[in-house]
Every structure is written in C-alpha cells, then in structure tokens.
C-alpha cells in the first residue's frame, strides 16, 4: 500500500512537504507520551483491583511481577487520560500539517493496541459478561437470551461479572453470541485471552480497512489511521476493556470498503452481520439502501437475515432475534455520563424522567429523518451513518466511553469534516466529565 499511488486531496501540497525537524520531534514526543501514558495505566492496573479496575483472572501477572506499577487510582488514571488526550490532539494537528511517516504511524497504532490488549481488563466488566453468556450456552445449557449470569452462580466466571449485570440476559446479537461460544471451552483465563486476541485482531482489521477506505476516497490514510488507532478512548476503553464494539466497527468498515468496491450485496450483509453483533450497526442500513438504490443491497440484507435466522433460531429460539426488545431495555437505562443526565442537572432536575426519554427519541427521529432526506438527495451515506451513530450516543441516556467510538472510523473516510470535529468534540466532553476526582478526593 504505497501512499504515492493516490495523491491525497485537500492537503496534497502539505502532505508532500517533508516534516521539518521540529515537527518531527514533536510528533515523536506526542507518540511517546501516548505510549507512556498507556503503559502507566496498564502497569498500574496489573497490580490489582481498584475502583477503576475490575477483579480479573490473573491474565497480567507477569506485568505485576515487574514490580513497576502501583495500584491504579483516579488521580493517576485521569492524569494519564489527560496526557493521552493532549498528545493525541497534538499528533492530529501535526499530521494535518506535515507528512508523518507511514511506518511510524502504523508502528504507533499497533504498539498502542498490543499494549492495551496484553494488560488486565480496564474499566469495565463487560468482557466477563460476554464469557459468562458463552459458558451459559455451551457448558450449562442455559439460553443467554432468557437468563442472566445469575443462572450459573456456581460457575467460576460469575464472580467476575459486574454486579449490575447479574440478572441481565444478553443484549448482544445472535451472531456475536454464537461466535463467542467456542471460548467457553477454553476455561475462564483462556477465554479472556481469546477475547483480548479477537479484539486486537478486530482492531487491526478496522485500521486496515480505514486505511483502504481513506485511500479510495483520496483522503490521507495516515491521518485516518492515527485518528482511530491512537484515540485514547479507543485504546484505553475500547481495546483495554476488550469491548465487542471493536468487532462492530470492523464490520462497519468492511461494509464501507465493500460498497466502495461496488460489491453491494456483501456490503449489506456486512452491515447485517454488524447489527447481529450489536444492534446499533443497523443504523447504517437505511442510508446504504437509499444511497445505493440497488437490488443487490436488498438481496444482501435479506440473505444475511435469512442465514442468521436459520442458524440462530435452532440455538436461541425467537429470543435471539428479538433485538428490538433488547434495545428498548437498554434505552431505559441511565448512566451518570450521559449528556441527558448532565442537561437534566443543568436544568435543576434530579435526573432523567420517562418524558425525557420520549423527547430524546423524538429528537433522534428528527435527526435521522433529516439525514435520510439528505442522503436521498445526494449526501454521502457514510457520513450520514456516522452522524446517526453519533446522534444515538449523544441522545442515549446510557452513554459509555466506547459508544462515542462508533462514528470515529466513518468520520475519517468522509469529506464532511464536521463529522470528525463533532465526534472528537463529544469525546473531549466525555473526557472532561471524568475530571471531577482531579479537583476533589473521591470518598472511600
């Protein structure tokens, strides 16, 4: 993949200019800060459980034995997050102005991904829920769409599952549940290692497709890969937590790449596959259908759904395809990081009420309707999909860091740069909202 093949548009002159020594040095500093901050978090996290690090099978004992880290507290974590965010911002600013070495950029994002994945699980217990659902189905004969992990209280994975999710049946699609089934045979530790390996592989695939799509659209692939692969929320939360959102991003980017190659049926099937991992991916489909207006897209969708139904029905029954029910259940949840909660506090309310859920859904419907109309009239469907995914995360009352990642790879393969700016702005606000413990002690 030579960057010389396609001259990037809108920055060709700048990209052709080699980086002066100062810019090159600053680039190395930013990359070094990103690596150092991540290493600090991973080494400290390997020491043991804290409010930030869940109880984890001993997957990173070799890191703990180095004796370098200390228990990860809020202050160190937030400083590392701030340093990463500042370095990321600096790196992107430099990448827009000067040519950054392709090898250096790829090396940086690969190193960040590997470091995030070799350490313990960061900031979330979700991966243990994934493993618990797999073990429920494979080892205990329990349908994960009907029961929560509390149905297997005696299983060794249960102690690692987040307390809030003990009674919660899986909200993930049947494709993901089926794909996760083989890890049940690997034991708890083996399953965790497998999940991390899959996340890393999905991340590398996502970055490769992002590169390809950016090149196809004559955008700067180095910049695109840095935006995604060096993003602190992507690395620390997404990869560090081994979230399946990375797999959905892979399938989303596969759909975009296939569409660019004119392969509409597989592209639609890829979107459906993404939706059968995590339902939000389905938001791309109407935009793809409207923009492409080809029967192949329809056939691809129908065929993928038919295959999914044929495979998942014998295993899960109708519950495996009842994605709407899972979405409705999750839509009722409220997290303290959601913008809806923050606006409610700003307006002097104690929190989000049912009427607020309705207002947010109405706002989302208006946004999506506007984007659908614009797509029909020629707006880039990839950008419209990105806007929709961003709008879903912003209007959701249950906002988590990795939800702000959905629109990120799409934003770097579209010419509407407002999407990238908006996605990064939302992420910056998310990071800012985490900072309260820096200004006051967290009560213990």
């Amino acid at each position: 993949m030579s960057s010389a093949v396609v001259q990037p548009v809108g920055g060709a002159a700048r990209r052709a200019r080699p980086a002066p020594a100062l810019s090159r040095a600053l680039t190395y500093v930013c990359g070094g800060l990103l690596l150092a901050a991540l290493l600090e978090v991973v080494l400290d996290a390997s020491v043991g459980h804290t409010q930030l690090i869940p109880y984890t099978p001993d997957v990173a004992g070799w890191l703990r034995e180095t004796g370098i880290g200390e228990l990860l507290g809020y202050r160190v974590f937030l400083v590392a997050l701030l340093v990463s965010t500042a370095a990321y911002g600096g790196l992107l600013a430099l990448a827009r102005r000067e040519a950054i070495s392709r090898r250096w950029a790829i090396g940086l994002v690969v190193a960040l991904g590997v470091i995030a994945c070799v350490g313990p699980v960061l900031l979330s217990t979700d991966v243990f829920s994934y493993i618990a659902y797999a073990r429920m189905g494979v080892l205990h004969g329990v349908n994960p769409y009907l029961h929560g992990p509390d149905a297997i209280r005696g299983d060794p994975i249960f102690r690692y599952v987040g307390e809030d999710w003990h009674h919660t049946a899986t909200a993930y699609g049947p494709l993901y549940t089926l794909l996760s089934y083989p890890v049940a045979w690997l034991g708890v530790l083996g399953a965790l290692v497998a999940m991390k390996a899959v996340t890393l592989a999905a991340s590398l695939g996502t970055l490769w497709l992002t590169w390809r799509c950016a090149r196809t659209r004559r955008l700067d692939p180095v910049f695109a890969v840095l935006v995604v692969g060096a993003n602190p929320l992507y690395v620390i939360y997404g990869l560090g937590g081994a979230h399946n959102d990375v797999i959905t991003m892979l399938l989303m980017m596969a759909a975009v790449a296939l569409t660019f190659a004119g392969r509409d049926a597989p592209a639609a099937a890829s979107v459906v596959a993404g939706a059968l991992v995590k339902a939000t991916t389905a938001a791309m489909l109407p935009f793809m259908l409207l923009a492409r207006r080809r029967w192949a897209t329809v056939w691809g969708t129908v065929a993928a759904l038919a295959v999914a139904a044929a495979v998942s029905y014998p295993v899960f029954g109708v519950h495996g395809l009842d994605v709407v029910a899972a979405l409705n259940r999750d839509a009722a949840l409220v997290s303290k990081d959601s913008f809806a909660t923050e606006i409610a506090h700003l307006l002097g309310k104690n929190g989000v009420f049912p009427v607020d859920h309705d207002l947010l859904k109405a706002a989302l419907v208006v946004i999506v309707a506007h984007l659908l109309w614009r797509t029909w009239r020629g707006y880039d469907w990839v950008a419209a999909s990105g806007w929709t995914l961003l709008a879903i995360s912003v209007t959701s009352t249950w906002l988590l860091a990795w939800y702000t990642l959905w629109s990120l790879p799409l934003s770097v393969v579209t010419r509407d740069r407002r999407l990238l700016v908006a996605t990064l702005a939302v992420q910056a606000l998310f990071v800012a909202h985490q900072l309260a413990p820096l200004f006051s002690p967290v009560p213990s």
Partner: protein, 200 residues
C-alpha cells in the same frame, strides 16, 4: 432499481455543477422509476452546490448543541466536585465521631429525591466485613466546617444485612427521633448508645 455508480471519489462530495442545471438537477436516468417523481423529490447521486444555506444552518445548530453540552458538562463537573468534597467530609465526620478512624467501608446515602445536602452514612459498629455487624448511621447536614467535617445532627442503628428502612432502624437519637425514623425496638445485646457529638 438502478443505482448510482460505485465510484466513491466521485460521489463523496457535492457536485461541481451549478445548481439548477438540467443534468445536475436530474441525475436519475430516463426510464428509471424515480424519473417519474417531481424533480425536487428525485434521488441524486451527488448533492447540488447551492448557496450553502443548509450547511450553514446545520453548522449553527451543531455549534449551539455543542455549547449546550459543554455548559452542562462543566456544570456537572462542578456539581460532582462539590458532592465529592461533601462526602469526603461526611466520611471524615463519621470516622471521628464513632472513633473508627481506620474504617474504609462506610456507605453513604444521598438525598437524590430532593437534591438537598442531607447525607446518611452507615458503617459497622465493630470491625468486620461490610454490613456484617450492627450498623451505626449518622445524619449529616449543613456546610463543611473549618475542621473539614460536617455537622452530625442525629442517627440510628440497624441490625446487620438489613435494608435501610424505618422497620429496621432502632435506637434513634438527635434529629432522627424528631423525624420518626425508627420503628424497631432495640434487639437484645445490640449496641444502642447515642453517638456523642451527633445527638442533636
């Protein structure tokens, strides 16, 4: 259904052709089912290059939305900072008044219904796992004082492993008596002495 070409480089941006020109305005092929629609309803391969009014309106709305979210975030960070400071003072007060300076597992219950600064902090009366011993709870109100503590106006006790409801509270003292928070008689052998400094 006949769709647009798959050339992403071409279809990525607005059409360079002027708005209102015949070709740019009607990219639908003759014979296509979409050609029967009025021009303003027909699908397009590329957006027309208009005056940019729509884009300007969208961008303005995005900026306004960002300002609203940013103000909400800053407000929430300030609010959380104050809450954290208050809860840290509460924990300090509880440990000082109960003489359990090394206790870590002190639970706090905020008044999330009315958003007041009244907090109830509970912890074990003797060393043990969290909630495994009778609990002593203190009611904190008012601002943080000069010594980094808050005023404890009253309190009550609870047997271990019981939810915090009036039927499980006993031996109220201070403001808890006036609020009628206790309905359970003191169980035999359980501690029930009012906490000095928090007895109203």
């Amino acid at each position: 259904m006949r769709g647009p070409s798959g050339d992403p480089a071409v279809s990525a941006g607005p059409s360079p052709r002027p708005a209102g020109s015949g070709e740019a305005g009607s990219p639908v092929r003759a014979g296509s089912i979409w050609a029967r629609l009025p021009e303003r309803l027909q699908p397009r391969e590329r957006e027309r290059c208009g005056r940019g009014d729509l884009r300007r309106v969208e961008s303005t709305l995005l900026v306004l939305a960002f300002i609203l979210l940013a103000v909400a975030v800053v407000n929430d960070v300030v609010r959380e900072t104050h809450v954290n400071e208050r809860l840290a003072a509460d924990a300090r007060t509880w440990r000082t008044l109960t003489h359990h300076l090394d206790y870590q597992n002190v639970s706090d219950e905020q008044d999330l219904k009315n958003f007041t600064t009244r907090d109830v902090l509970c912890g074990d009366t003797q060393p043990g796992p969290p909630d495994a011993r009778p609990q002593v709870c203190l009611i904190m109100t008012g601002p943080i004082l000069g010594d980094g503590r808050r005023a404890a106006r009253g309190g009550f006790y609870e047997p271990p492993y019981r939810p915090d409801v009036a039927a499980n509270r006993y031996a109220c003292f201070g403001s808890a008596v006036r609020e009628g928070l206790c309905r359970l008689p003191t169980p035999p052998g359980y501690p029930d002495a009012p906490i000095r400094g928090a007895d109203g």
